[in-house]
Amino acid sequence: MIQVKNLVRTFKSGDRTIKPVNDVSFELEQGTLASIVGKSGSGKSTLLSLLGALDKPTSGDVVVNGVSLASMPDGKLTEYRRRDIGFVFQQFNLIPNLSAVDNVMLPMEFAGVRKSVRLARAKELLEQVQLDPEKHVRRINRLSGGEQQRVAIARALANEPKLILADEPTGNLDEQTGEHIIELLSSLSRDHNTTILVVTHDRQLANKTDRRFRLQQGRLTEEPARARVAAAATA
């Protein structure tokens, strides 16, 4: 259960203040697959960074299973990121001089998982995102954009987080692979009760989510579930 309460994030640019996240409130039950759509620059990535405790809100709070992020000291926030959150970055943010497997093992290393266990799990995750086995040990900077994106998804799943925040996880993938990733995410929410919030421009992906949000100039609105059924019918 994640509760977002009157979240505001402002940036000063010159003498103008911009509000990419402007009084955003919503709640997600555990196990919900939700999506956020919105124009470029509408504040989607900024909102995800606040939910993932990468950044601190100007005001408002995020409450995860009853615990407020605003009240957590930095050490606890690090632990929250490590244990409870799986973040798929819009720009992947993998460590370029490490192999795919090493990148996926990294969050597990920080969580103190035994080496043999993390190696086995990293390989399993890379298989799940359909990365060719011979590319598992290849360095990240020798992988294609789509391959890197899948490694980034595998890394986000490494510590079996309760909440996955994915910023355009299918942006660089072909239709077929993209569909596979969507299937993977929905099965996680269905079978593992993982809450998943994806930012996407992909209608197909958005249509498959339980709840759909739209962000416009920092303000969040939810599209009714009916519209989703109707959209699916017209598609």
């Binding site: 950044d55 990121r81 970055f89 460590i95 001089n97 990294l106 890394r155």
Partner: protein, 500 residues
């Protein structure tokens, strides 16, 4: 993949830069290690000088020294007087005898009478080690079965001829062997007060009792085919070789030691001393004690000289020690600064990556540790190359330091070629000044030959000193790396969303 493995990987991410950093570090570390080695070597030398002759005063009869000069001989009573002076820890009397090969002496007797007696007035202005004519009150010449281990050579022949002139190029001199110094000693020390280094056999036991045992210099024993237990004669009296000693110089090894009473008996002068070796408790007290001993014995009776004018030498070496220590600290600081700057640069460069690590939940200390380890990998490489540099350079650096720092004082304090305190009788070096004893006190001279100091230096470039130096380098590197490592704690995870 562990933190360490990641750190090693990161250290080699940019190979060209890593190479450059290691090279610069190696220079700094190599310099630091060289300076440490030089410092240790000089410190050891200073300690050795202080320990051996640093606190020793030599008392000679007023107006005489060795076999030269005149005046009244020293006596056992004077030794007792000197022993009562405050701060004096021991007084050792010596009695020097000059031994000549018996058969040669007989053969030359006739020729000598024609050429004039040996009691000549040769002036001590000739080349060092070979000067110092006969004469003086202690010229007790005895015969022996031994043959000197040093050939007379040009200098020896000239001096032995005792024509009364120096540098005579006249008629060809007959070939002679040199005399051998036999010294009666009251303790197991050489004629300069330094403990004898016995290489074989044993000492003489009770040095205050008469005995027929003797200690021979290694080369003298070799020349005469003698071993421990062999016998030889002095004035037809049979002596047994109790042990062999190594004085470190050819000249010093052409000598033998007997107990003080034995020498006095041989000379038929009981209670008479050639010199007294007075040991003072600490180096600080040497000056005041010297004055006190001189006063106690009387200026008309005895000349008290301090070791080998060691104070100047020691203070000169001390300044080399200080310079090398400062240079060591400076080079060490430079290595630390290089690490600091490089790591600050790397942290700035990898800001975004550090943000990624934080975003996926890396604790600050893991990231800090990763950077410290990366710095240590660079330092380890720098140390390997630096230690190699140091092992080649330290000898040269040490000798350069010592020669440049002491060249001015060398002339003033040692007076190359002036009569050597312990060697005030004809020496044998063939042809050039310093036939083994050109410096006062022979091998104990403050700059006992650059070569001798250098052997000490190379000997001191030991794994222990290098290891201690590298440990210091690592200590400084950790401090240097800690600052940038702590900087990583301030980087926020949101950096991941910012562009490069």
């Amino acid at each position: 993949m562990s933190v360490l493995a990641r750190s090693i990987g990161n250290a080699f991410r940019n190979k060209v830069r890593t190479g450059a950093v290691v090279a610069v570090l190696a220079v700094a570390i190599g310099l630091a290690l060289s300076m440490l080695v030089a410092n240790q070597a000089v410190a050891a030398k200073v300690a050795e000088l202080n320990a051996s002759v640093g606190t020793v005063l030599t008392v000679n009869p007023a107006g005489g020294q060795g076999f030269e000069g005149g005046g009244e001989p020293l006596t056992a009573e004077q030794a007792a007087t000197a022993a009562t002076v405050p701060n004096v820890t021991s007084v050792v009397g010596t009695k020097a005898l000059r031994l000549r090969n018996a058969t040669e002496t007989a053969a030359q007797a006739a020729a000598q009478s024609a050429a004039g007696t040996q009691a000549g007035g040769t002036q001590g202005t000739g080349p060092g080690g070979g000067q110092g004519g006969p004469g003086g009150q202690n010229t007790t010449t005895l015969t022996t079965s031994l043959t000197a281990a040093v050939d007379a050579g040009t200098l020896g022949g000239r001096n032995q001829a005792a024509e009364g002139t120096t540098g005579s190029t006249g008629a060809t001199q007959p070939v002679r062997s040199l005399p051998i110094t036999a010294t009666g000693i009251g303790a197991e020390v050489d004629s300069t007060g330094k403990a004898l280094s016995i290489t074989e056999g044993s000492g003489l036991g009770d040095y205050s009792a008469e005995s027929t045992n003797a200690l021979l210099g290694t080369t003298l024993a070799e020349k005469n085919g003698l071993k421990v237990g062999s016998t030889f004669t002095i004035n037809d009296k049979t002596y047994t070789v109790a042990g062999l000693f190594d004085a470190g110089t050819t000249f010093g090894n052409n000598a033998l030691y007997v107990t003080l009473p034995s020498a006095q008996t041989l000379a038929a002068l009981p209670g008479e001393l050639s010199t007294m070796i007075v040991t003072v408790d600490t180096l600080e007290n040497v000056d005041s004690t010297k004055t006190a001993v001189q006063a106690a014995l009387g200026t008309d009776k005895a000349d008290v000289t301090q070791g080998q004018n060691l104070e100047t030498a020691v203070s000169s070496l001390d300044s080399v020690k200080n310079i090398s220590f400062i240079a060591f600290v400076a080079a060490l600081g430079t290595a630390g600064l290089i690490i600091l700057l490089i790591m600050v640069m790397l942290v700035r460069e990898r800001r975004r990556e550090i943000g990624v690590l934080k975003a996926i939940g890396a604790p600050n200390r893991t990231i800090g540790l990763q950077f410290v380890l990366e710095a240590l990998v660079l330092v380890a490489l720098g140390s390997v190359v630096g230690a190699a540099v140091a092992s080649f350079a330290s000898g040269g650096i040490a000798s350069a330091l010592i020669s440049s720092n002491t060249s001015t004082t060398t002339a003033a304090t040692t007076g190359r070629g002036m009569p050597g305190g312990a060697a005030g009788f004809p020496g044998g070096g063939a042809g050039f000044p310093g036939g083994g004893a050109g410096f006062p006190g022979g091998q104990n001279g403050p700059f006992g030959g650059a070569s001798q100091l250098l052997t000490t230096v190379t000997a001191s470039a030991s794994p222990g000193v290098i290891a201690a130096g590298i440990a210091a380098v690592f200590g400084v590197a950790i401090i240097g790396a800690l600052v940038p490592a702590l900087l990583t704690a301030r980087i926020r995870p949101i950096e991941v969303l910012r562009g490069e």
